[in-house]
Symmetry: C2
Subunit: 107 residues, 2 copies
Amino acid sequence: MQTIDYDQIFSGRELVPAIVQDDATGEVLMLAYMNRESLRLTIETGTTWFFSRSRQKLWNKGETSGNKQTVRSIWLDCDADTILIKATPAGPACHTGNRTCFFTQLQ
Amino acid sequence: MQTIDYDQIFSGRELVPAIVQDDATGEVLMLAYMNRESLRLTIETGTTWFFSRSRQKLWNKGETSGNKQTVRSIWLDCDADTILIKATPAGPACHTGNRTCFFTQLQ
């Protein structure tokens, strides 16, 4: 385990991509972006928080739908510029109702 | 299955994040960035190609190390701005020798 070095992760960038994976099934559910504050809130609340690039605001996944994601563990990649969150979803990750946002297979 | 609409994926952006997941184990191995050409090469060659932001050039994962990733399927998320690649890795994904780049657990 490593103490979170926010300055390392957010050095020279406001946002980093965060992958959410179902802790039980291994399914990749979604990718969204985190800023310093959303990472802090994710750790503090134990549910996933992101920063919406289109709406330019923080959002707590599932706040409206009820499909919150309970964080089980947080991982950082070797470059310290991508976050992987293993979580237990209370329902579908996708706003379309699909379990995962990655439901479209390309040829 | 959907035919790839490069204009949709790369509309208004040069790069999209691509998550690589081990097709057999479900482990998330790495995240790198793809431009139009690297997605085309990935499909054409059946191995993963990315665009390095620091070196500003295309790279074929495993070209030097031998640890190529054989593509099993390619998925697009609901916003069409993130790619998920399920692949069979010939060896460690990480340049550190770790199987996955996400080997650092945060508190």
